[in-house]
């Protein structure tokens, strides 16, 4: 990696000197870093909490299975969606999950290009989080089609019906954007894993471990020539993933912005959706990182520096999102269009006003606490704020989607939406699936990039640059 050649900060100096905590706690060597991270997978006893957590998350994942099975047998009438609110929890959840999935690629690609070496401890599991979040996101539009077994019709392939997808539709753009994003994120994650899989292969005590990790590592041997091409490929992937991550939520926002529904048809949507995605993604990384570093004693690698930096990113993106809310309200008034002008009134005073104000509280008011260093350095407070932002970002999508659809142009066709049990069970079911996949990942793969951590150690320096 290019970053390996950057003068690495001396953790000792950073620790004793200025107020900034180090990226890695002092005293680590190549060996200790390798042993500590690979032991979680290979030798350390699986903590009891892992089994308890996996059981709990797994039962919610099972609830998802039940909900989807029931959905397929009965049809999407089991959800609360009905005209005029044709998109409700399903699309809200889709956009929420896709947004969460943005932090992984942002951390791995954009922060890599910006040479932010602190990203190294959190990029691996943020990328895993991205993959699982995108998988959860994909479930909703897939099952919302009502006939998920025909979903392949969305892709262009020569067929006996002589039909082709309609490429002027933002929904088809979405298919391409999300499937490309899922593919590229998976590639990025896997490429990053190869050298660490080789480490696990070489350190595994069991034959099964050697064979499985060996096959996954594809014979990686750390040759200098290979590393050279590997670094090139990784940098190029980062360069490709950076515009991609921006494009995905832009295209998701086009699903709304291309339509003429009041409150959707606005040019602020793409940047404001992207900022919101990063906001919720970082909130989710914090939500996950805080318990993980405590349970697995990884405070050496995921230091206060990481938590504080993530808090700062949340503060900035939260302010961009708040600016987006302001612009939305201003433009709907300034447009002079009475239907657009009605949207903020409906949000502030309408039947769903409670959720709008809850959203403002969660996303705009409470995160302002992050201005204070005492808040940014307090782990429990950060954890609570990250949870609040997760809820707030879900409410944001709910407000955008359901409020606009329930009251658009004709008062005679206004309606209301109320979620059913199956709406909730599917939402919490995907949370269960997400957490279960994450538990499996923590158990079977190195959650921190071992080889990149090695490059951060002072002994990795070959010459003083």
């Amino acid at each position: 990696m290019a970053e390996s050649l950057q003068p690495v900060e001396d953790p000792n100096r950073a620790y004793v000197g200025a107020g900034t905590p180090p990226v890695i706690a002092p005293g680590h060597t190549f060996g200790t870093v390798t042993d500590k991270i690979s032991a979680i997978v290979l030798t350390r006893r699986t903590p009891l909490g892992w089994y308890a957590g996996f059981l709990l998350a797994g039962s919610f994942a099972f609830l998802l299975l039940v909900s989807l099975t029931y959905l397929v047998t009965k049809g999407i009438g089991i959800w609360g969606n009905n005209i005029p609110v044709g998109w409700a929890f399903d699309i809200t959840n889709f956009v929420w999950w896709i947004g969460i999935g943005h932090a992984g690629t942002l951390i791995s690609a954009i922060l890599l290009l910006l040479k932010q070496t602190w990203r190294t401890s959190i990029n691996r599991f943020a990328e895993a989080m991205t993959l699982f979040a995108v998988a959860c996101a994909g479930i909703f539009p897939l099952f919302h089609t009502g006939r998920p077994w025909l979903a392949y019709w969305l892709f262009p392939y020569p067929n006996s019906m002589s039909l082709w997808p309609q490429f002027r539709s933002p929904l088809i753009w979405d298919v391409f954007a999300v499937s490309t994003y899922a593919t590229v994120s998976a590639l990025f994650w896997y490429v990053g894993l190869i050298p660490d899989l080789a480490t696990l292969r070489d350190r595994s005590q069991s034959r099964a471990g050697r064979v499985i990790y060996g096959m996954l590592a594809m014979g990686w041997r750390g040759s200098a020539r290979h590393w050279h091409r590997y670094d090139t490929a990784y940098l190029l992937l980062a360069g490709l993933a950076t515009p991609l991550v921006v494009s995905v939520h832009t295209v998701v926002s086009f699903d709304f912005a291309i339509g003429i529904v009041p409150g959707w048809h606005t040019t602020i949507f793409p940047p404001y959706f992207v900022a919101g995605a990063i906001y919720s993604g970082f909130a989710m990384v914090l939500t996950l990182a805080i318990p993980i570093r405590a349970v697995y004693n990884l405070e050496d690698f995921i230091t206060m520096r990481h938590l504080q930096n993530m808090a700062k990113v949340m503060l900035v993106t939260g302010l961009i999102v708040a600016y987006g809310y302001g612009t939305e309200a201003f433009i709907s008034w300034y447009s002079g269009d009475k239907y657009e002008g009605f949207v903020p009134m409906n949000r502030i005073f309408g039947p769903y006003a409670f959720y709008y104000w809850l959203l403002i509280t969660c996303n705009v008011i409470i995160p302002q606490a992050l201005w204070f260093k005492r808040v940014r350095t307090s782990v429990p407070v950060l954890f609570v704020i990250s949870l609040i932002v997760n809820v707030g970002m879900w409410l944001e999508r709910f407000v955008i989607i359901v409020l606009s659809l329930s009251r658009d142009f004709l008062t005679s066709s206004w309606g209301r939406f109320a979620p059913t049990f199956w709406d909730w069970s599917t939402l919490f079911g995907t949370v269960g699936l997400f957490v279960s996949l994450l538990f499996l990942f923590l158990r079977f793969l190195p959650m921190i990039s071992i080889f990149e951590i090695r490059t951060l150690l002072p002994e990795a320096k070959v010459s003083d640059e």
């Binding site: 190549f30 390798t34 002027r168 041997r221 040759s223 020539r225 590393w227 992937l237 070959v462």
Partner: protein, 179 residues
């Protein structure tokens, strides 16, 4: 190959990145060309020490990107204008602004696939067997040790002389790599 060699090469083990880079430089200056070094993390100086390396990977990715871009747009043009023209709100069949998002996604998708598959192909991976793994201590190459291997196919390679040369680089250990 005249006779199947039974020795793949000689391998020296080092403790830290600076010594393996210095050793690679010395071996290259000595005239050895069939060299490879192994490290638990990327060391850019190491490739340079062995005479530098130019990789064609960026070109492969560029070609992949262009193929994705042209292919994506051509697919849209052909389906919307030739194969299955539909009048959508009076928009022209060739409504190019609406074709940009998918063209963009196809560009990224094919370029990213070329980057990964190209890197693996140029590296000759997946490779189930490689002689360096015959050295038991080589397992540490993915932990904290650095290795320099002079391969037997090098014209200057001589089991005795090369071993003596490697000993002068103050390695931890020099071992013979069986083929």
């Amino acid at each position: 190959m005249k006779t199947p060699p039974t020795v793949y090469g000689l391998m020296a083990e080092f403790d830290d990145p600076a010594s393996v880079v210095a050793a690679a430089e010395r071996a290259h200056r000595e005239g050895y060309r069939c060299l490879d070094a192994y490290s638990p993390f990327p060391i850019e100086e190491l490739t340079e020490a062995m005479g530098g390396e130019h990789t064609r990977l960026p070109l492969i990715v560029l070609i992949g990107g262009i193929v994705g871009c042209v292919g994506g747009y051509a697919l849209e043009y052909w389906t919307q204008v030739v194969a299955y023209p539909l009048n959508i709100g009076g928009k022209p069949f060739h409504s190019w602004p609406a074709f940009i998002p998918v063209t963009f996604e196809c560009t990224i998708l094919v370029a990213a696939l070329s980057a990964v598959l190209g890197m693996l192909a140029l590296n000759g991976l997946p490779q189930p067997y490689h002689p360096v793994f015959n050295v038991p201590r080589f397992a540490l190459a993915s932990r904290n040790r650095f290795f320099l291997c002079v391969e037997a196919r090098d014209p200057l390679f001589d089991l005795e002389r090369t071993r003596r040369f490697l000993e002068t680089l103050s390695p931890r250990e020099v071992s013979t790599v069986a083929d």
